[in-house]
Symmetry: C2
Subunit: 535 residues, 2 copies
């Protein structure tokens, strides 16, 4: 027997419709690629998203057609989020840092029909225009009035395309399982793999973003997503912000410390979201200017583990609470968020920051487990470490154009992370499966060792890799980037570590480098480090 | 093209499974009908819910079978919430305050197969046992060991039924639109009408309960739902609490001020939810004992409009924030929640409390509009008042065993409320359609007038009804219950009102009564008042 409740599909267009109706005047502020600050509102974004839907229809886009973007976080990209998905076509957000080869691959694999791109990425677009590929229309996200001498012929211009389109458009209603957006994850090996989100998964995930125990995105927030809109839909923030009416502040291409700090101060930002690297820049700039991030209330850090020193830097220096979160492209991305329980209120601040360095507790809608090498489920005792698996409403069931993958089995997705889970449900990642160091039969957590090393004065960044060892099979090697103008040496770091980690974790060697090799999403490429230090 | 995301149905059993896995040790505390405080945990509730599912199967309950309860808020009722809905049957929570005639009607209409009841309601059950009706099994929610001499033969006992059942049970997977629970709404006229909730509507509504902008139910909360579990599923709190791992405190039959206050103090309750009447008792008791509600952080008030004096009492006396919410049985119930926006931070406390007296802003998942008598949509200008209509994921599409109703039209449900909506989306209810007073062609808000009267010193409760008038067609009549030991008179109240409301609102007459007539859900029966004062 079915219930007798209204059965409207969960659609992305509902979020911007809701925003236009119940908080039309809430601002959306962007640092533009052109330079100046642009101010608009949800009411206007809603109106222009409808016009955009009409405009892409005129370019031959239909239900299911893939529409690509190579773009920063701006109001135009936001209109594409609502306009393209809202009309039933699929927004494919391309990471501009992909290699040429990877970019060619994803454009062909996705069969992109249109490419929208910011002027900063004109060279990438120009190269694609020359190559043989499925893209029929190249749209520069700017005005024809700003056409530059370097513009190749045959471009279309976003502003005119939207201005000329009719706003007389009603969002279509369709199956909520319809594909809404596509994001490729570029592993360190093999071709990029596409995650094809649905309207249903996006809306359920957006609810999760707004939960008090999760990111608690609220209409009281002024939210600045530094996490790119080409990276797991900016963690779902654009949809969730429209749902609750949070003022949005987009940094455009200005991801350096000075421009981020300007924007935070000028717009009264309360909530920041992004990967650890950008916060290093922001904290440094605040130190240089000797200012407090006085409007900021919370910083959500994900993408890779936040070092305890960063959590401390925000809390002690700026009275800002760090929310550590964990997820993946395949998980939309929210899997866990780290918030203290009431019983933790009595904790010492040192213990509390140790707790905050964990990835946190899962949110209703996803289910987690850890298994051993034989796929036997391990207990949540805070000690047993195993392969972390996840399933749930916003977890990919397979990759685009494939039916199965090695990582998907028996309804679970194998994350490739090693973790333990404590009795309160807190997940602590200890390693990536492929980065695990097994020394004398025992696992050494490269993440744990990196975190400890980064607490050592003078160490700016740290990465740990396994090196072969005759006696122990593997031993950890610590690779360090020094803070500028410090003179920390190998023995000082090792001495520091001896007081912090189990004896057998302490590496025999420390290597110093000027910079760590980073992949397209800002993560350290340990594979390259292993090649460099193989000898 | 469909997305490639996992497609698990949204089921109520997921909530208790999640609780058992990620916060098994969080407490569920109940004041029992037997008297003592009972302590259990989500882990144990999960285990016993599965046993309960097995037990009701043995009573012949199948998918879709209706299982009725007449019960207080306790751990046993919570097990019924998960066990009965989890196995695919339908939990029909009966309001014990229904008249015999109404109760016979709903039992027949629902075709209840089993009735679970608390010992307090043995007389009601005994009467139903004598009557001809579809109930095959009567289960007393207690232990056979406590069998009393007054127990009629043929009863089953909850504790033994559950204890004897196997816990070897896996929740079935089924269509998320499947009916999960049934709650009848008893209007002032006509037969009660059943709202048949689905698993999908319940889970989506539960997400809404946990949103930061909504009730923000969190694992940091110690939640005491005074709102009965037979009243719109206790506003969805039991499901949402399991989702986030909030400690639950159930008051059982102890709804008087002294026992509520004991429980709040002993269990460190942070969040209270209920209708205005119970809070009057709690505030009075706190005054008598001269204690502060020091653990309490928020009180959610719904069911009927919270008088400004109550909001003030909580805030000034106890530093407790009142969240005013609005909804109906037909809306699961959350429609709007009243929280201040950031721009309101600068408001005077008087203005802020005026804002808090509004019903609040809608939450994503429901859509609202106001229309005039010709069904023309009215603007959100904070001035135009019209018939409030609602639609959304947790709004009933029709009543049980009917296909249409006068209130459901063109995808909207007519709430029967008169409201205005301001540009920020805040809803202010000014009246029930049937209670509207139209005087000289102008509407007078009975709710507004009641709120103003209750601010007058010496006035404990106030109700306003329309009386016929030759010149103005209708005029308001104010009916007042005085606070004990005060001597306020008619002229003092009218003098007070003259300074508070538009001149033409001020009634010509005040009538004093010892108590207002209340319906089964604690609302004032204005129909009865109109009959009494018809002359």
């Amino acid at each position: 027997m079915l219930g007798q409740m209204m059965e409207a599909p969960l659609l992305i267009s509902n979020t911007i419709d809701f925003a236009a109706k119940f908080h039309p005047d809430v601002e959306v502020v962007s640092r533009t690629v052109e330079g100046p600050i642009h101010r608009t509102s949800y009411g206007e974004i809603a109106r222009r998203s409808r016009k955009l839907a009409r405009a892409v229809q005129r370019l031959g886009v239909q239900s299911g057609t893939r529409v690509a973007t190579i773009a920063w976080n701006t109001h135009r990209h936001l209109e594409l989020y609502f306009g393209v998905s809202g009309m039933g076509s699929v927004l494919h957000t391309i990471n501009p840092r992909l290699s040429s080869e990877q970019m060619d691959y994803v454009v062909h694999h996705a069969e992109d029909h249109v490419l929208f791109f910011d002027r900063s990425f004109l060279p990438l677009a120009a190269r694609l225009m020359q190559a043989s590929n499925p893209i029929k229309h190249f749209v520069l996200m700017g005005s024809e009035k700003d056409r530059a001498s370097g513009d190749p012929g045959g471009l279309k211009y976003y502003d005119e395309l939207v201005d000329e389109a009719s706003s007389d458009y009603e969002w279509p209603q369709f199956d909520e399982r319809t594909a809404s957006s596509l994001c490729y994850t570029s592993g360190t090996t093999g071709d990029p793999k596409g995650v094809l989100y649905s309207h249903r998964s996006t809306i359920l995930h957006s609810y999760c973003v707004t939960m008090a125990d999760s990111l608690a995105l609220s209409n009281r927030d002024v939210t600045l997503p530094v996490v790119p809109m080409f990276h797991v839909n900016a963690w779902g923030v654009p949809y969730a912000a429209a749902m609750v009416g949070s003022k949005l502040v987009f940094p455009g291409p200005g991801l350096d410390g000075p421009r981020l700090l300007d924007l935070v101060e000028q717009e009264g930002v309360t909530s920041l979201l992004g990967v650890p690297t950008v916060w290093m820049n922001l904290l440094n700039e605040a130190r240089v200017r000797d200012v407090k991030l006085s409007s900021v209330e919370k910083v959500v850090i994900g993408g890779s583990a936040a070092p305890p020193s960063m959590i401390e830097g925000f809390e002690l220096g700026h009275d800002v609470r760090v929310l550590h979160a964990w997820g993946m492209t395949e998980t939309s991305p929210l899997g866990t968020v780290c918030r203290a329980l009431r019983k933790h209120d009595e904790m010492s601040s040192e213990d509390r920051r140790k707790l905050q360095a964990k990835q946190g507790r899962p949110l209703f809608g996803v289910d987690l487990r850890i298994v051993d090498d034989q796929e036997q489920v391990l207990p949540h005792d805070g000690v047993a470490a195993g392969h972390l698996q996840i399933r749930g409403s916003w977890v990919a069931s397979s990759y685009f154009k494939t039916e199965s993958s090695h990582a998907h089995r028996e309804g679970w997705f194998a994350t490739g992370d090693i973790a333990c889970i404590d009795p309160d449900g807190y997940v602590l990642l200890t390693d990536r499966s492929k980065d695990v160091i097994k020394s004398g039969g025992e696992w050494i957590s490269s993440i744990g060792l990196e975190g400890a090393a980064m607490e050592c004065p003078g160490v700016a960044q740290a990465a740990v890799i396994a090196t072969p060892d005759e006696k122990w099979v593997e031993r950890p090697l610590l690779v360090v980037v020094k803070e500028s103008e410090t003179q920390v040496d190998s023995e000082q770091i090792l001495e520091f570590l001896r007081a912090k980690v189990p004896k057998f974790w302490v590496p025999e060697r420390v290597e110093f480098v000027d910079a760590l090799p980073l992949g397209a999403t800002g993560k350290v490429l340990k594979r390259e480090l292993r090649e460099i230090f193989a000898s």
